[in-house]
Symmetry: C2
Subunit: 250 residues, 2 copies
DNA sequence: ATATTGAATTTGTCTAAATAAAATATTATA
DNA sequence: TATAATATTTTATTTAGACAAATTCAATAT
């Protein structure tokens, strides 16, 4: 089956999805199994087994031994390039197109396979070369390098300690909407009041409001001690976005 | 084959391409033949024959009689919606992303099948609700209506008459680049000096420069008499584009 | 040493989109 | 009216991406 437009020697959209997902999976555990990948993508084992074979043959993956699927150098770069596109698009949608934190994911997932690197660069410029996306995730460099930033979660933060929200580790729209509505977006400062024992809820203070957070919620919110390395704090009054001002060509 | 992402009940990318192409073909002649469509898309006759059957079954096309393929109401709307996306994207690429007149087509062709209507709306807003794209073509309305604007070409223009360039009827990058470099972009005024007999070249004056144009070239350039209904004239000093200014969310 | 189990792979099937080659239908012409 | 030319449709194949069911493989547990 031929694509309606020419992808040159780029990996197919499907391949990019596999590669990106495996990238995610192997960030923490260094290796992934076929079944993990299948579960993560929602495909059947056979489908994934077959595809992994192809991607290995094409040099994107290394499949050493049963549960030892990982990305090759080439795969890493591919993954980072796609991820860069995705995160730049998400930032664009958020900052310029009036999308909410919980709405950027779907659109970006479709666009990331389709925009050229050139357009990604242009968008990056428009956005003023952001370091992070609206969820607080680092945007990989053009060359395909994603710096490893290890963060702690709000759940792990000691009582009475003040922190800055750095990143939100979820793509679930419901959760994101809730977090956003609480005002816990990346860049915002908050203080952990206390944690109830036996995995009980965490109480935090944001903007002089005291909010209770479930363990799951608190574990999704990654923080840094005091002054944050992220881009500037972001207020999200949705549908309150002005169009960017037209440049020279007028 | 299932798409990696969900297109809901939208037509496939491939279908959108057929529909759009048939839209183009039937703007002038009201009917298209299988062979015309095949030629326009660069597909084989059998492929097109088959696909036309499907699209007819799905209610996008009406295939009355041999060479009488045309769009149904539903097909018209689909075509216009895709075309609207394409032209908004082209305008965006041109005005905000530093793309040249001859470079917008490819990127837009890929993106038009993938962006949501919502994003198209957002882009439209950013651009200040443009009426025409960088080639001077009308941008269809959100509801899927493309006004018919009948224009004359530079070739048909009488000697010594002053006109405004309205639209460029080509997607060929080479030609577009050349036209752009001559400064004959939509919105620009020029004067037809004279035409050599027997389909000879046309001489025109732009910015006090006298330029000779081949018949093919002059036939591609559509014009209106004096003051143009297009958006404001556009200077295209490429790579001279400033990033749009960031809006409220900062 | 042999079941049992769980993971991975193979095999066979499906669909959408494309092709080429053969068959058929329509129109125009001698 | 028969025939040549042209346009269209059918038939059989291909490829990528998916699935389910059957099978193989390796590591334990008995």
């Amino acid at each position: 089956m031929r694509k309606p437009y020419d992808r040159k020697n780029m990996p197919s959209e499907s391949s990019e999805m596999y590669i990106q997902k495996i990238f995610r999976l192997t960030r923490k555990q260094s290796n992934a199994s076929i079944s993990e990948i299948a579960a993560a993508l929602g495909f059947s084992l056979s489908t994934v087994s077959e595809k992994v074979k192809h991607l290995t043959h094409d040099g994107y993956l290394v499949h050493e031994w049963r549960e030892h699927v990982s990305l090759s150098e080439k795969g890493q770069i591919t993954a980072c390039k796609t991820l860069r596109k995705r995160r730049l698009i998400e930032t664009f949608l958020y900052k310029f197109a009036g999308y909410g934190l919980h709405e950027v994911h779907d659109e970006a997932c479709r666009l990331e396979h389709v925009i050229s690197e050139r357009l990604a660069d242009a968008i990056e410029g428009m956005l003023g070369f952001p370091k992070t996306d609206p969820h607080g995730h680092d945007i990989p460099s053009k060359k395909g390098i994603l710096p490893e930033r290890k963060l702690t979660t709000l759940y792990e933060t000691a009582d009475e300690k003040s922190v800055t929200v750095a990143a939100l580790q979820t793509t679930d729209p419901e959760l994101l909407k809730y977090i956003n509505d609480m005002g816990l977006t990346p860049g915002i400062q908050c203080e952990v009041i206390d944690k109830a024992p036996f995995k009980g809820p965490v109480r935090i203070k944001v903007n002089d409001c005291i909010l209770p957070l479930s363990v799951t919620m608190a574990s999704l919110i990654e923080v840094v001690p005091a002054p944050c390395t992220n881009d500037k704090p972001v207020r999200n009054k949705q549908n309150n976005v002005k169009a960017p001002v037209a440049p020279i060509k007028s």
